[in-house]
């Protein structure tokens, strides 16, 4: 044995990404629930933001004065909170499902922070995917909703830069929310005592 080597286990972000990717790919059904949850919440959000943009574009071009009401933003906030709670719930179940695996990983040398990292990588993936899907859905429904009020061609006149920044903003929001929702389950997983985790029968 090499005594000079530092007595430190290693687990890089790349390792976590590789492993997290496998978890999502091979347990797709559970991941899909989270992705759907974030996509629905986010599509509602993007619908509102893009509608707002399209209405103001229409107003600028001399169209009717239609606007997104402020209570609708409250509904968006509620929708996002609901999707966060849904993800936290689904991830907690995922932690219970993987009790023994987490215990095993700890036996093989995983530190608490490695377990947290693994769950966060998964939620990052889910948030990113959910965000992309949610944006596309939101864009489509915003175009349909405003189309009847202000004409479907209005989307062509909307400032491109604003659309891009809404895209970046929504996908980042989705990813951040997904990761925030996973913090508590990930922390719970990392605190597992390997002895108890290995004895656990699902």
């Amino acid at each position: 044995m090499n005594e000079e080597a530092p007595m430190r286990v290693q687990f890089t972000l790349m390792d976590a990404v590789r492993l997290g990717h496998e978890y999502i790919r091979r347990r797709l059904d559970r991941s899909l629930i989270n992705i759907a949850s974030i996509a629905l919440g986010l599509s509602f959000y993007t619908t509102m933001v893009i509608s707002d943009l399209l209405y103001s574009t229409s107003a600028r071009l001399g169209g009717g004065q239609v606007a997104v009401e402020s209570y609708q933003y409250w509904l968006v906030a509620v929708a996002l909170v609901v999707s966060i709670v849904g993800i936290t719930n689904a991830m907690l179940i995922a932690v219970y499902e993987r009790y023994r695996e987490i215990g095993t990983m700890k036996c093989l040398g995983a530190l608490d922070k490695h377990i947290v990292l693994l769950f966060l990588v998964e939620s990052f993936y889910q948030g990113l995917l959910g965000g992309l899907i949610g944006f596309v859905l939101g864009l489509a429904s915003a175009v349909v909703i405003t189309g009847f009020a202000a004409g479907f061609d209005i989307v062509l006149y909307a400032p491109k830069l604003s659309l891009v920044s809404i895209f970046v903003g929504s996908v980042s929001l989705a990813t951040a929310l997904s990761m925030v929702a996973t913090l508590y389950p990930a922390w719970r997983a990392s605190q597992l005592n390997p002895v108890e985790a290995l004895r656990y029968e699902l």
Binding site: M1, E3, M7, R8, V9, Q10, F11, D15, R18, L19, E22, Y23, R26, R27, R100, E101, G103, T104, M105, K106, C107, L108, G109, A110, L111, D112, H114, P194, V195, L198
Partner: protein, 230 residues
């Protein structure tokens, strides 16, 4: 540095609090295990075998007393050093295999090399070689659900060897296997013990495993009842 006794237990105690009652799972165990020795720990369920296994493996902390691995008192180690010990010095084999279900045999075996900081390709190559050694060269890309119980335990053995540990801890490794498969696993473990000079500590009920071992530690009610030469 190399100590002749790779494992030393000094007055090892582990109590559990069950409501108002204190359960003495281990009540003062002294034991020395030599490098390359094959030791069986035998006793009825509840005699403290698994507790002993967990303490030696650094998975649990003693209430009192110490576990020395290569002369180091492991209760003095911090979380990082303990993880390193589990990763590099000790290989674990369980009754219920505990393979990661979403990963293939090859990925399961290479997982410990990830934590050891081995480059990815090198870890996979090592895992492939180990799987060939345990007779699963044709099953590299099968997942645990696609393998028989005996094959799963072989994967678990290959995984335990992934970082060339000094010690293999096996908790009832044949407990979930039929007679013949169990026999094959015992032969495999025994061979590794002899050929690689690995120290093998196995908690077991299995008479065939007991017969193959160098020394047998009989436990009862948290203490060592007797020690026999195999």
């Amino acid at each position: 540095m190399s100590y002749e006794n790779v494992i030393e237990l000094r007055d090892l105690q582990r109590y559990y609090q069950m409501g108002a009652e204190t359960v003495k799972a281990l009540d003062g165990v002294d034991l020395e295990i030599k490098r390359g020795e094959y030791l069986s720990i035998v006793g009825p369920s509840g005699s403290g075998k698994t507790t002993l296994f967990n303490l030696v493996g650094g998975l649990d902390k003693p209430t009192k007393g110490s576990v020395f691995i290569d002369g180091v008192d492991i209760s003095q180690l911090d979380a990082y050093e303990l993880a390193w010990l589990r990763c590099r010095k000790i290989g674990y084999i369980f009754q219920s295999f505990n393979l990661i279900q979403v990963l293939t045999a090859l990925e399961n075996v290479s997982l410990p090399t990830v934590f050891a900081g081995t480059p990815h390709d090198e870890g996979l190559k090592k895992a492939e070689k180990l799987l060939e050694q345990v007779g699963l060269g044709e099953r590299l890309h099968h997942r645990p659900t696609e393998l028989s119980a005996g094959q799963q335990q072989r994967v678990a053995i290959a995984r335990a060897l992934a970082n060339d540990p000094a010690i293999i801890l096996a908790d009832e490794p044949t407990g979930n296997l039929d007679l013949n498969t169990g026999m094959e696993i015992i032969d495999l473990l025994h061979g590794l013990n002899k050929m690689r000079g690995l120290t093998l500590v196995a908690a077991t009920h299995d008479l065939k495993m007991i017969k193959a071992s160098d020394r047998i530690v009989w436990m009862r009610d948290g203490v060592v009842e007797k020690v026999e030469r195999g």
